[in-house]
Amino acid sequence: MSTNNSPQAPRSTRRNALVGVGVVLLLVVAIGIGYAIQSSRDTTGDAAKNPGESSSSAARPTDSSSPSGDPSNGGEPAKGTPAATDTYGLGVGDPDAPVKVEVFEDFQCPFCMQFEEASRDQLQQVAADGDAYLVYRPFAFLNDYSGRALNAFGVVLDASGGEVALKFHDLLFENQPSESGPWPSEDDLVALAVRAGAEERDVRRGIEKLEFGQWVVNGAEDASKRGVNQTPTIFVDGRSVSGNSIDELVQNTLSAIDNG
């Protein structure tokens, strides 16, 4: 078939080749345009407003790698007061505690709610005792509500401080909607924030305007880069804790803290 003794063969072969090259170029250009559109629609990594960065913020971020603020130093929170940390987290307890526990969770995730129910009192006690620095590291993983709830959490953390944010975090899990809805409205989220101790005028606008929407997007990317592909994921000193059930996960977390 490769040999062709028709006199027209060279011309039609050349014509076919030209058409082929043209079509391939067209397809490559289409892929290039599509790629440009997709990457411009992905805002991941864009500059974001992060909780604790507002000038009026009640939540001064603490860097877990350095000692937290001196209580006598003006508005700095007392050591051990819940505060924004590591850009995306809420740190509870002493940042200098011997062990750091990070809880990656999604406000929509039912297993996370179960983990919260099973672990909250013990983990917060361990943090209060100074045995571990507990970092809640919520990120939006599952659906639209995950993102709205996390944005609200960011707003509360920024405007009302770590103590109120911790309470709000607990309330969000205690009032978790079903994965198939109906989901809380913006008003419901504001009401929940107020129940946690926030002033409505401080948080309503941020919740309605998704003020921390970009922070939510960047936080999902950060979790993904740290290898977190499931919720809940627990890191003790940066190492993932495993468990075949929620109870096992809680037990393994507590024993990892004891051994840490």
Partner: protein
């Protein structure tokens, strides 16, 4: 006669694989960030190429799918389609072998799944089947109702 039937079979093969590609790509388009995370979850590619892969893959899938449905550059597209299926089979098999519990992200989504281990065999079987159909399209060269038939002059015009 047989040649005739093969060309009709090839049309069916084009539509099958083409529609799968279009659906797979279209479901990933709405959330490019999630697509990037799904690629990253496999932990196979260096981080420097992960975002590009996540952004371009759904577009490539749709272009291949459309080209196959229309019968445009069918053989070349079938080759690319087959290579992609080989890559996906390797990715899923390696996630399985490493004991990872991730959704394949084949039709959007991605990341953790509780029953991932149960899904891997079926996903690999599906991709292998589609790989074979792609291979058939490479082999049979000609199909019915393809744009190729209008665009390209048959090389053996005298071979009636």
């Amino acid at each position: 006669m047989l040649r005739h039937m093969v060309a009709w079979f090839a049309l069916g093969a084009r539509l099958l694989v083409g529609v799968v590609w279009i659906v797979a790509g279209a479901l990933k388009l709405p959330d490019p960030a999630a697509s990037v995370r799904a690629v990253r979850a496999y932990d196979l590619l260096p981080e420097s190429v992960v975002p590009v892969t996540g952004h371009v893959l759904p577009v490539v899938e749709i272009v291949i799918g459309l080209a196959l449905v229309l019968g445009l550059m069918t053989r070349l597209m079938a080759v690319v389609s087959g290579l992609l299926f080989v890559a996906f089979i390797i990715g899923i098999a390696s996630a399985w072998a490493r004991g990872m519990q991730i959704e394949c992200g084949c039709f959007g989504g991605g990341g953790y799944s509780t029953d991932a281990t149960g899904d891997y065999p079926w996903e690999i079987a599906r991709d292998t089947g589609l790989l074979l159909v792609s291979g058939f399209l490479v082999w049979c060269r000609r199909s019915r109702l393809a744009l190729d038939n209008l665009l390209f002059v048959p090389r053996f015009v005298h071979d009636r």
